[in-house]
């Protein structure tokens, strides 16, 4: 699982896809996950990191992370 390499992300949650010209706004949790994806972290690592930082339980986060990955895929922001 990897974010397309040319996708620009900022910590404030602004996301830009230069190929399509589309820009997005991500909330802080989403922005952080995208940075982690960019740094080539695995899903398991992302899970660990996020659970240690945020007030959320693991089954809840797992569901949301799946959902978020699907959103990224829908928006064509992931490497195939």
């Amino acid at each position: 699982m990897k974010l397309k390499s040319n996708i620009a992300t900022s910590e404030s949650g602004f996301v830009f896809n230069p190929t399509s010209g589309d820009s997005y706004s991500a909330n802080s949790v989403a922005a952080e996950i995208m940075l982690l994806l960019k740094e080539n972290n695995s899903i398991r690592e992302i899970n660990q990191i996020m659970l240690s930082r945020y007030e959320v339980d693991s089954s809840h986060f797992e569901k949301d992370l799946d959902d978020f990955i699907a959103q990224l895929r829908d928006q064509n922001l992931l490497e195939l």
Partner: protein
Amino acid sequence: MEKLKYERPVIKKLNAGIMNKFGMRTEFTPHTHIEGVAVKDIISKFGSPVFVISERQIRKNYQQAVRSFRTRYPKVQFAWSYKTNYMNAVCKVFHQEGSWAEVVSGFEYHKALGNGVPGNKIIFNGPDKREEEIILAINNDSLIHVDHFDELFLLMEIVEKMDKRPRVAIRVNMDTGIYPMWDRFGFNYENGQAWNAINKIMASEKLELVGLHSHIGTFMLSTAAYAVATSKLCDLAFNFNKKFGKAIQYLDLGGGFPSSNTLKGAYLPGADTVPSIDEFAEAITSTVLNYGFKQQELPLLILETGRALIDDAGFLLGSVLATKRLSDGRRATILDFGVNILFTSFWYDHKITPAQEFSHHTEDMVLFGPLCMNIDVVRETVNLPLLQKGDQVVVHKVGAYNMTQWMQFISMRPSIIMIDENESMHQIRKPETLAYLESLENIPEHLQQIKL
């Protein structure tokens, strides 16, 4: 290290400058309290979902509506439309304020009596009045609004056997320029049916024609339609006076004023577009005042306003059961209430707000109820914060028709709470129970035993 507050991750495409089809407004300002009482306290005490009614708002609406008419016209009377919300506590607030009762069935009629409304202050409307109900209404000197010729003949037959002269009015339907025309109720004006009914009543000498009634539709957006309806009733009253030398005592313009809800398919929110009661009052009263009645013969003006007086006094509180993504990527939020108890979601795009704080991030979503059917859609599209399981929401302006047209389907109907003017909560209807529902059922002997 203290952990950070979590929110479901979401990204949203920015379409700069373009208004999306979901409209410009997002409803993320949380609505945490109703009349000073915390939503979460109401839910923890009475469960979710739960209807909440603000007594203060009802009184305010009523007093404002009365003022709109009385400042323009000397003789005005409101009659509470029971079908709009016949919780007894609600009716009693209206009656305390001075409202009569307007009922359309024997059941509603008995409710009004039970609420202490004197018989002569009950208006009995509708096409379904049974013989025994008519007799009761005659004995109570109620105002019987005749809907059709069959009823008129039945009434005449009944009075033959009674030593009474009931007070009646006829319901008149007419072309007010509004489509569809509600011509299935009452006698038509344009084709002479209404005038014919008046003549039959007068010829019988058994009935006293005291009023003329019309109810031209509901959620009417045109004040001009009321001016037309008023002028047609005035015309009948005038001709009546000319022919029979008597004055019609009242004109009843029915209900139909819109609330500030947003009708489905409307381009702009209701709050920005619907005419105010003042504007309707102006159209109606100026028509009567300019018609040329003698000062002492000005008819009493009766209004049976329903939804406009109660809609914004009602709230439905509920909770998120689950969120999911549909096959096309749209977000779906499943709530613990659906069209079974929020009947008006068939008509309105109800305003729904979260009851707790969120970040400014929002999503477009569909709101579904919990019923196992396709039609159970509370909002087809709405932009809301990132709701998740357990979050609470407030549906606004649900006071009219929901607590009467709700269905007991799949789940039971919830509590109704009234918050009084001192911010105290009263449970004015308990939640239904299995025992309550089954108390009406009967299982035949041969079906008592089952073996599986």
